[in-house]
């Protein structure tokens, strides 16, 4: 996991801080202006932007990663919706002209 954290979040932080915050469920992460915002994904395709090394390490520790693990093909859905709208429109237009 440490290897994962280092490869995704970088080597800039302190792993001991990570252990401390795990015992505090109400911990609020503070933005680090020097940390370039990263996008992490979970297995359900959820996305989160992390704005500090600590926040990034916390999520990677929880199984999040920087590559998409998306089972749901949303673009296919959008394609299907647009094709359906086209067909409905054609039918509506056809009925109107009858």
């Amino acid at each position: 996991m440490i290897k994962n954290i280092k490869s995704i979040c970088g080597v800039g932080g302190n792993l001991q801080d990570l252990e401390q915050i795990q015992s505090d469920p109400n911990f609020v992460f503070e933005n680090d202006p020097n940390f370039e915002t990263l996008i992490l994904y979970d297995i359900d395709g959820n996305i989160i932007n992390v704005n500090s090394w600590l926040e990034c390490a916390n999520y990677v520790n929880g199984g999040w990663t920087n590559t998409v693990i998306d089972k749901f093909n949303g673009e296919l859905l959008i394609f299907a919706i647009s094709v359906s709208v086209y067909l409905i429109y054609k039918i509506y237009k056809g009925l109107k002209n009858v």
């Binding site: 359900d44 996305i47 989160i48 998409v68 998306d70 093909n73 949303g74 673009e75 959008i78 709208v85």
Partner: protein, 665 residues
């Protein structure tokens, strides 16, 4: 029977509208027992962990009166997380709630909404395009593909599934192509029944801006390009304009220095080139050309359809609506977000009713300047049409006029206000039947008094003539250490620019334009009674509060000979912006002059050609006072604003520039 049909149409429209407005923000795919609550600082951790669970609709229910939140779109979202909370962050005193939006969903949803709005334009006489739409749709689709290839750097930021490979299961591309097809197919049906009436509804382009949330495209550009392609197919386009445009484009593409750099489009989204490569250059060249051809085609086909009364009513209505939504969206974050998304704003409306950090109130507009210009134009048109075309204002229109005046007051665009008064004087003056010499004399006296009243000049000519160069040097990384005098003031502090020229050009890191201007200011032999050109521009820039912005322009503008003469290309600002290292290479600092913007795009020859065309039009139609007044008003304002970088102002300019073609009287 007819009533029944109207009733059915209304129900269908309401149903369709509710689909567009409610469904995308209500759906919840995930199964969770968690409930969204009143968002506070203490619950930030909860929302940071439970992302993609709570829809906008649920959040509105619990937080409609929550004054501590701001809502921002999270444009990196997957389709699955569209319309749901994707994160909450604490920034200074506000909680930023990010709702997921997605490129493919935005394109489809916003296009359908804009089409719906177009369908509300009353029908006119039927018009038929000569050719079926498929070829035009194919061309637009290919253009969008070229656009995606050219601006990959921009898009890769917004979507993880960005994939340009042409294969049957690339649903990212397929959904974009299907959306283009659907949009233009429906648009063709809508526009054929409304083409003659479109021109009367042009003010609505200031309300429905048409910029897509996560694409660097504008809806109006797409549909106008579609019309433009039809115009070419029907051979209804200007050959002279096309020839000149092609010459310029060839030179610009030939001289393009392709680089892997990204310009952050920010509030120029949808009408600016974010990259600097052949593909992006080709796209913007073609789309810009087609957009102009499309607008001219509409104008040529609507010569007898302009209804000044309706046009005035629409301007007043739009101005009022912008003000009202602007005020409501300033106090309610949900209205702010929804208005940003559905109106296709370049930038979310301002989140306060007050003046912030020296900036004036810009409401829903991308800038207070552009908004102020719109209000002033609306007031000018309304007054001219009322008093000089003798079309009486109704009581409601009078009320709307006052709301627009309030908008102008809030936008605090003094230049727009002065030009409004100036043009009203000009128009009144032209209407009076004195001989020409007397007219000009009285007019000059009145304008001078007005100008001196509005611009109290508190500076010496020596200082004001150097202010521009001083600002330019302040923004430059000049590359040499200038020695200081006994007070440690260097040549820039002492306004002694000639000393800088004593260094060789190669050791200095100043732009070509700044070097050239300094040279003219320092080494040109003065002609008695005539001010130095640079000194005069500088002296003009100071009272209109442009010496700093134009100084920055001088510091950054570093063209080679071809770029200077023919420009970098339509909407191509990247080289100007990032090509030459100055102290102002981050943040969006625009030239604050459409004239300078077009100098970047089309160079000296391009600007000269445009000016010749404008002067020629004004001269030929000098007796058409309405045309002359409105066009001069726009031109005066464009000198000190970047409005032509926005689609709505650009379309308005094209319309007013061709106003003389309409049968108004």
């Amino acid at each position: 029977m007819s009533k029944l049909f109207v009733h059915k149409t209304l129900i269908f429209r309401l149903f369709f509208l509710s689909l567009l407005f409610i469904v995308p923000w209500t759906f919840q795919f995930s199964e969770t027992d968690n409930k969204v609550g009143f968002i506070t600082e203490e619950s930030v951790g909860f929302y940071q962990t439970n992302t993609c669970e709570f829809s906008l609709y649920q959040t509105v229910q619990e937080n409609i009166i929550n004054r501590n939140i701001d809502i921002w779109p999270d444009r990196n979202s997957s389709v699955n997380c569209f319309g749901k909370i994707n994160g909450v962050d604490l920034q200074t005193n506000k909680l930023i709630v990010s709702f997921g939006t997605n490129l493919n969903v935005d394109f489809l949803l916003q296009s359908l909404f804009f089409l719906f709005c177009l369908s509300l334009i009353p029908k006119s006489n039927d018009y038929r395009f000569k050719y079926p739409p498929h070829f035009s749709i194919f061309i637009v689709s290919m253009l969008i593909y070229v656009h995606l290839v050219g601006e990959q750097l921009h898009y890769e930021y917004f979507t993880k599934v960005f994939d340009l490979e042409l294969k049957y299961n690339n649903f990212f591309l397929l959904s974009i192509f299907s959306t283009v097809f659907l949009t233009l197919y429906i648009f063709k049906d809508l526009v054929e029944k409304r083409l003659h009436n479109l021109i009367n509804f042009i003010p609505f382009m200031f309300l429905f801006i048409g910029a897509f949330n996560s694409l660097n495209l504008n809806f109006f550009m797409l549909i106008l390009s579609f019309i433009g392609i039809n115009a070419i197919l029907e051979n209804k386009y200007s050959k002279k304009f096309t020839f000149i445009f092609i010459i310029f484009s060839l030179l610009q593409v030939y001289n393009l220095d392709s680089r892997n750099i990204l310009f952050d489009v920010d509030k120029l989204k949808g009408f600016i080139n974010s990259s600097q490569n052949t593909y992006s250059q080709l796209f913007w060249t073609i789309i810009y050309f087609l957009t102009i051809v499309g607008v001219i085609y509409i104008i040529e086909n609507s010569k007898n359809s302009l209804n000044l009364k309706l046009l005035r009513k629409n301007f007043l209505f739009v101005g009022t609506t912008i003000t009202v939504i602007g005020v409501v969206s300033a106090v309610n974050p949900f209205v702010n977000f929804i208005s940003y998304y559905y109106l296709g704003l370049n930038k979310a409306g301002i989140k306060t009713l007050d003046v912030v950090a020296g900036n004036t109130w810009r409401g829903l507009g991308p800038s207070a300047e552009a908004l102020g210009e719109f209000y002033a134009f609306t007031i000018l048109l309304s007054l001219l049409v009322t008093f000089f075309k003798k079309i009486t204002l109704t009581k409601i229109e009078l009320f709307l006029l006052f709301v627009n005046l309030y908008g102008l007051y809030k936008a605090n665009n003094i230049a727009a206000l002065i030009s409004l008064v100036f043009i009203l004087f000009l128009y009144s003056f032209l209407q009076v039947n004195y001989n020409t010499k007397k007219k000009i004399f009285v007019f000059l006296i009145i304008s001078s008094i007005l100008l001196f009243n509005f611009f109290p000049i508190n500076y010496s000519y020596t200082f004001s003539s150097k202010a521009l160069l001083k600002e330019a040097y302040n923004a430059s990384e000049i590359g040499v250490n200038l020695p200081g005098d006994q007070n440690s003031d260097d040549a820039i502090d002492n306004l002694n620019f000639g000393e800088i020229l004593s260094y060789s050009k190669d050791t200095l890191n100043i732009s070509n334009s700044l070097y050239y201007f300094t040279n003219i200011y320092t080494n040109t032999k003065d002609i008695k009674y005539l001010p130095n050109t640079v000194g005069l521009i500088s002296a003009i820039s100071l009272p209109i509060n442009r010496s700093e912005k134009w100084g920055v322009f001088l510091a950054k503008y570093n063209p080679d000979k071809i770029n200077l003469n023919f420009g970098y290309g339509p909407q191509q600002i990247t080289e100007y912006y990032l090509g030459h290292q100055t102290k102002v290479n981050t943040g969006l600092v625009l030239p604050h002059s459409s004239l300078l913007d077009y100098l970047i795009f089309y160079g000296v020859f391009g600007v000269l050609l445009i000016l010749i065309m404008l002067i020629r039009n004004l001269w030929i139609n000098k007796d058409n006072y309405l045309y002359v007044s409105l066009l001069i008003f726009l031109l005066l304002n464009f000198v000190k604003s970047d409005s032509l970088l926005y689609v709505s102002s650009f379309a308005l300019f094209l319309f007013i520039n061709n106003l003389y073609k309409f049968a108004i009287d």
